[in-house]
Symmetry: C2
Subunit: 691 residues, 2 copies
């Protein structure tokens, strides 16, 4: 076995397999849990059916698109690069598979969590976290297996020299990343529209007009609302982090080949991310094993312990890997194994810091959220002004941390150091995603408890988990944005490397045109998402009103409302409305690249990132802070539920819904997708423009 | 007389003088108008007194700052560049003078407009537009005189060769631009906070809580509200466009010297903007003469005719100027006089297109505003989501037009062509500003009509003018943003030219760090503005409530409220709150430049612009559209005044106030100020980093 090439590929593949095995094991454990409550099972079945039906229909819409894109890739590429058409489909398929499997388990975990919450908080945490773990490990596993299998195939077929890798293997791998990105974008946008249309619709008519509580079974949109949590927060988030991980690995590989070093070291650095990924699987599993809560323990502390431990393990494991791979070799003017280790640490610490900052700005009990609570007392206008003011302010420190991470990574080991720091931030992806996906499962469990009329102690337990889920979701969003921004930075350089263009001068008017136009795209894209939610919510409002009006006995609780139609409205709206923003994201870099050239496209990519990162943080954090301000008031502050302050806070929360769950997170994918797309079309641009 | 140097200087000086003479003539005409209504005069006097008192206190706060900055410039610079300390003070002084003079006349025009509205709509338009013209021509005049006088002095003292100009004259002139920029920033931010604190405070308590109409004399904050219109929209806008014009001329001059051409042509191109500016004065005056409305004519049509005619004249006049100056000479690979003429036309057309797009997205009766009106029917949340969705969408086309303007200008005559296109957009500044400043005068006239209890026909006439003013303000904002963005583009290149740094690679991590950090600054800055408005409005709300509670007879109309205290609260809040955002804007480029170097600072400037332009358009247009949606409902749509839709629209309008009148327009200055500041410190950075 050739240690420079086969070993990392094998490690990556084995790590991926391990992750999948863990996922299978956990999901079998979940499926084996018996739930004797028939009503709970039936309502849980509605949610599961609605969620899976959405996914199937979504994939049916995306299939012709994926095939068409793959055909275009085939005819647009030359020679062996035509294999990109196949890897694109594999990437898209793996992303779809991860979404399908993760959501399947999530929708089986939610009602089991409700049942477990009868026993204890710890048991409920265990079930819901297990559900999240399946998603996390599936994503990591499919990513590692996909990348190592494709590299094994291409390297065996087209050669293992640096030039071969540059010419064939990595471009073909970029097709895989592009497939993952495209599905991720549609999953995020479609899921985001679905969940918020249902949520806003359910709230506006059910809570505000009919005055029935949240998750009440009499509300026709309530099943759609719970389906939405799965579709948006589980499947959408999973696809998002899947593509982030794949894109980062791809960027690392391209930059690994681009360092100044002997050929053998270049190959080693290029394949290094696979070994790191495998170690990340183990770190994640170890972290997961630490997540347990004692009798009076806090679930938040348990999740934090697991995550931080996994982060620590990931950093520690990277040390021997770097030393074994590099030995005493150095690259790019003296960077060595220790420098790479410190880059990893920088990434881990930077990501954590951004997560904690996000928690500070959006978390219940903090000064920012309390300021919004206070502002709610003078009405919705001041709630909104203060909320957006705080959201805007919250962009500053995370972006400075990102900038510092780039600076320190670069200082340690040049561009490759930045890439490794970015990867470091995502090495413990398995547990990060588990913690993220646990939130909507707990949220769903609460909804199901309400709908199936469980004792109030059940709801109390799920509420505790849900509150924790909101905080962890905020932290997860911080990580997602940070890794999107840094992945982009890595992709810019990878793209430039692939096009073979010389220097790109920032004050060149063509570059500035690209920058200006790129800076506008996140706004246009967000606008499409927001307007889509508005339209879909409007349709939902009409439907709920219609049911209350025409179906007798709903409000008395004697007739079950027609949940299916609401699910159908959300589904169709999401599928229809995700097309336009998706096309904007996918086609605009292609157009700019072929009409304006590589410098303009580079400016465009940078413009999208620079403007998009701030906008994404602003939207996500504003929405999160509004949500928690409302929750704080509902917990009794400023007059509590039903007060004028509460009404004002509900307005803020409703405006925040498309901010934080549709537009904000979709921007992260937009940023990365455009980078990946540019890397994919780089060889075509090189031929077209003749660099 | 040496035609290459003295003639343009003389033309610039004469043009400036002509503008000032026109302003003096118009203001004497206004002052000569008699108003026999004592109550109207008395209340008009309150507003005038409050406005002038604010300006005096503002300048008192800014004086020590200006002196300190000037001292720093003196000690930071070397050799003759120490003169920058003096030109900085002159620039700041001229900006202050323009604000003072313009506002003095505006506060004398407003109550005369009210009186004129008794006679006819045309007479009211004549008076209010004359008031605006004084502001417009003062600004143009002081800019042209200041620039030509400084250049005359420096060129006489330090030499007239290209090298002398590069080394001394233009850097010293940049001190003048910096002075103007700094005052503009404080005027915009301070004025914006003042006007919105008063407005929001007056609305929240007066309209919503006490249920008295807008501009009712029983509302203690109403005088402050009317003062605010002058402080924010007249003085703030004037200072804004003053600095925009000066910065653009400076950028043109630096790029004029940087073209590839024989030395004599370089000097000619450098001084060309002064001759163009003089022709712009004449174009503006001719346009103003066309603004008159017949018996059944529309004021909007009259203002549009004047503006478009002035734009046309400015373009036409530029043709002989270019041909006379260049003769048959060409520069930078073949660009000639015709190319420069087309660059001017491109700028004029681009600016107009952006203005019209702004009108479409924010104007009453258009599809976007009607969509917001419809969304208001389902409550404040949908009003807000739709409004922001539309505001985000409205960024796309204007930015594409900007990008196209840069592209076409560059295609015609390289970077200098871009600079000339930018200048072309501002050549008819005199009438643009007149049209902008006319709006708040008409608005004030309406307020004064209400407070002094004029017959309803008076209010009807002023309302018509006010509605026109809102549209023209929207167009003016479009122009202001476009010229800010393009001025920045010009300043990037000018900055790079001045530092002597080589190529700045966009994918260099230091540049990317600057870009990311820069992209966040507009959010941080806007956040500071929004939170400041929130705090100041809160203080105003408390004071108005206190007066209603403790002063007997206010609500019955038997006792006059204590207007002075409300004016004082707005004044103090504005002066206190403008400091922090001001310091952020002024110091951050200095810090980045000295700590991170020129590439990082360049990235930072570009990042601020790329992110700031989109954010500024988003905020301005969202606010404008919300305002007009509310007005549409008040005119009877969706249930009219008092309906639930109206209440929802009022929330949107209130949120939009700090968007469109504080943060949005201040961002334009932020962008330009940072560019000018960088040009000023460029020689210091060059020495510090040793390029």
């Amino acid at each position: 076995m050739d240690f420079t090439t086969e070993l990392p590929l094998l490690l990556g593949f084995t790590g991926g397999l391990l992750a999948l095995l863990y996922a299978v094991w956990k999901s079998r454990w979940i499926m084996a849990l018996e739930v004797p409550d028939e009503k709970l099972k039936r309502i849980g079945g509605y949610v599961a059916k609605g969620a899976m039906a959405f996914l199937v229909r979504e994939y049916k819409v995306l299939l012709p698109f994926a095939v068409a894109a793959s055909v275009l890739l085939y005819f647009g590429s030359h020679s062996f690069l035509r294999w990109e058409a196949a890897t694109f489909l594999i990437g898209a398929g793996c992303s779809g598979l991860a979404g399908f499997f993760g959501m399947k388990v999530a929708t089986q975990s939610n009602f089991r969590t409700t049942w477990a919450a009868r026993t204890s908080l710890n048991q409920a945490l265990k079930v819901s976290f297990a559900g999240g773990s399946v998603m996390g490990m599936t994503v990591m596993g499919l990513a590692l297996i996909g990348i190592s299998a494709i590299l094994f195939a291409t390297m065996s077929s087209f050669g293992r020299e640096v030039a071969d890798m540059k010419a064939w293997s990595l471009p073909i791998l970029s097709g895989f990343a592009l497939g993952a990105s495209c599905i991720a974008l549609f999953a995020r946008v479609g899921g985001g529209i679905y969940t918020k249309a249902a949520d806003v619709g359910a709230d506006l008519v059910g809570k505000v007009e009919a005055g029935i509580p949240e998750d009440d079974p009499r509300n026709p949109a309530t099943i759609a609302d719970n389906v939405g949590d799965n579709v948006g927060d589980v499947a959408g988030m999973g696809a998002d982090l899947y593509e982030s991980f794949v894109a980062t690995v791809l960027g690392c590989m391209i930059l690994g080949l681009a360092v100044e070093a002997p050929a053998d070291l270049k190959i080693k650095l290029c394949l290094l991310p696979l070994a790191l990924g495998a170690s990340g699987v183990i770190a994640s599993i170890l972290g997961m094993m630490l997540v347990r809560v004692g009798k009076n323990g806090s679930p938040q502390a348990a999740l934090n312990l697991g995550t931080f431990a996994a982060a620590g393990f990931a950093a520690i494991f990277s040390w021997p890997i770097f030393h074994y791979t590099l030995g005493g070799q150095t690259f790019s003017g003296g960077a060595n194994a220790n420098n790479l280790f410190w880059s990893t640490v920088i990434g881990v610490v930077g990501g954590t810091a951004i997560g904690l900052l996000t928690e500070y700005f959006t978390g219940t009990g903090g000064r920012p959220v309390n300021a919004i609570v206070k502002a709610s007392e003078t009405g919705p206008a001041t709630n909104l002004i203060t909320g957006m003011g705080i959201g805007m302010m919250s962009t500053a420190l995370p972006i400075l941390v990102m900038a510092l991470t780039v600076f320190l990574g670069y200082w340690q080991a040049g561009l490759f150091g930045v890439a490794i720091a970015t990867l470091g931030m995502q090495l413990f992806l398995g547990i990060q995603l588990a913690v993220d996906a646990f939130g909507p499962i707990a949220d769903n469990a609460g909804g199901l408890a309400e709908m199936s009329e469980q004792p109030s102690s059940v709801r109390a337990n799920t509420d505790k988990l849900d509150a924790v889920g909101n905080t962890t979701a905020a932290i997860g969003k911080g990580f997602a944005t940070a890794s999107a921004a840094l992945t982009s930075v890595v992709l810019f350089s990878a793209f430039k490397e692939e096009t073979g263009v010389g220097s790109i001068e920032i004050t060149d008017p063509m570059v500035l045109i690209g920058l200006l136009a790129g800076g506008m795209v996140p706004y246009l894209f967000s606008s499409m998402c927001m307007m889509a939610v508005g339209r879909a919510a409007f349709a939902m409002v009409e439907e709920v009103r219609r049911q209350f009006r025409t179906i007798a006995g709903i409000l008395e609780g004697t007739t079950e409302p027609d949940y299916g139609r609401c699910v159908d409205i959300s589904t169709r709206a999401a599928l229809r409305e995700m097309i336009l923003p998706g096309i904007l994201a996918i086609l605009s870099p292609v157009l700019v690249g072929f009409l304006g050239g590589v410098p303009m496209l580079t400016g465009f990519l940078v413009g999208v990132t620079v403007s998009g990162v701030s906008l994404a943080i602003f939207m996500s954090n504003t929405g999160g802070a509004w949500d928690n301000a409302k929750k704080t008031i509902e917990a009794g502050a400023s007059g509590g539920k039903g007060s004028d302050a509460h009404k004002a806070a509900v307005v803020g929360d409703t405006v925040g819904d498309p901010f934080k769950d549709t537009a904000g997170p979709s921007l992260n994918i937009l940023i990365k997708l455009m980078g990946v797309m540019s890397v994919v079309i780089a060889p075509m641009l090189r031929r077209f423009w003749g660099y």
